[in-house]
Symmetry: C2
Subunit: 250 residues, 2 copies
């Protein structure tokens, strides 16, 4: 029976299945099994076998010579964030903020030391941004990230600082002391600013979505050209939307 | 080594992993492991072990006594539909259609005998609908479904008919002959109508998004109150958006 091995191999298999699903990146329409083996560092034979199993389960779909992520993963993924109904409830308010500011609205949550964008509503006056729904960005370099961190338990900030504060934009805050001082201010004001810290020429203003305990569950922001958007003018609008979203939290 | 068993157990693990991820339904914020075992019909011990592995991989997240779908699944799921960029490219056009009609816009694809909604933009004049992004609905009972089926290879229609044409709304087409005749007309006109076939009091008008070969890759629709929306008036707008989306296909 070798049940012990089965337990062990179930863990290995689960890890490899997760690795295969995580191997796809933005722009990867389809990947060959050899490429999947290369990216996941697993033997080609295992990649072949596990890919076949994932296709049988609908988590991957055959696409010519390769495979692509299955629509089933989109369906399950939607439940992951829409289960609570928060993202759907937030949508009209994000549209209102975009309407009022004509710039791009982001709704994001913190995941480890990065933010993940739950929704993005692009505005006519805003520059094209590299962010995408479901995409990630280093939290310390974004207004949404700073808004969330400033309203989270202290260990969250320490984890972000331990991650090394990598420089991602022309003016990314890479000095722990500077970041700490700025976040104290953000915690007091409920507004976080970001000036070319993630993207050159771009300004962002964010405010946290807080639960009843006052902890940040998400953050909403406005992004526009730094030479066109007046931060202090859009701040009240962003804060208003953030307070409204806090009210819609389940 | 019992490698043969490992191969067999890899298939079992993949199937159970997919079953656990698929066990969550809309509104399930968190599920206990016993409930997961019940829903998937797997031994509680296996559910416990595999759930632990999935949490370790970030596909599930601990939530009090139970687990919920991991944010990682949302990220992967977004890549499943946004990899091609079609959904993002379509968004502004869907917003335009909603603006012009003040009713609710749906973008859907066909998956087997059901449609899956890729995006929904709710309009101020439309009734509240049960549809949700990432959700499914029997294709034969929806305008988007009929628009896609009418522009797909014949086996697609046969599969839908073989599934039994379940009645889901007051006026669902449950007679194969009637459905075949209506779809022939839809294939000629490029417009599909749905009058209370899915939801009482609701009218939908859809048009297919076609690739260069003329095959449907998706469909866009407008949904509104059947006693307020004039189908023949919104049809040209829906068709215009569908043709525009066909142009944006990669």
């Amino acid at each position: 029976m070798c049940a012990a091995e089965r337990d062990g191999s179930a863990g290995v298999t689960a890890a490899r299945l997760a690795a295969l699903l995580s191997a796809f990146a933005a722009g990867d329409d389809r990947l060959g099994v050899s490429e999947l083996a290369r990216r996941t560092g697993m033997p080609k034979s295992s990649a072949h076998r596990l890919t076949r199993h994932l296709v049988a389960q609908g988590l991957l779909e055959r696409d010519g010579a390769g495979v692509r992520l299955g629509l089933k993963l989109f369906e399950i993924g939607q439940l992951a964030v829409r289960g609570s109904g928060f993202v759907d409830a937030a949508r009209p308010y994000l549209a209102d903020l975009r309407e009022a500011t004509r710039n791009t609205v982001h709704l994001a949550v913190l995941e480890g030391t990065e933010v993940v964008y739950l929704d993005i509503v692009r505005g006519p006056d805003a520059p094209a941004l590299p962010s995408r729904i479901g995409g990630r960005f280093p939290a310390h370099a974004t207004a949404v990230g700073k808004a969330i961190i400033a309203h989270s338990p202290r260990p969250v900030l320490e984890a972000v600082i331990s991650a090394g504060l990598p420089r991602v934009g022309p003016r990314t805050l890479t000095a722990p002391g500077l970041l700490r001082r700025q976040l104290t201010k953000v915690g007091e004001e409920g507004i976080a600013y970001e000036r070319e810290e993630s993207v050159a020429g771009v300004l962002c203003v964010a405010s946290p979505v807080l639960d009843r305990s006052g902890a940040a569950r998400a953050a909403v922001s406005i992004s526009g050209w730094s030479n066109r958007v007046r931060a202090e003018r859009v701040a009240p609008a962003v804060r208003t939307t953030a307070l409204t979203l806090s009210r819609t939290l389940p």
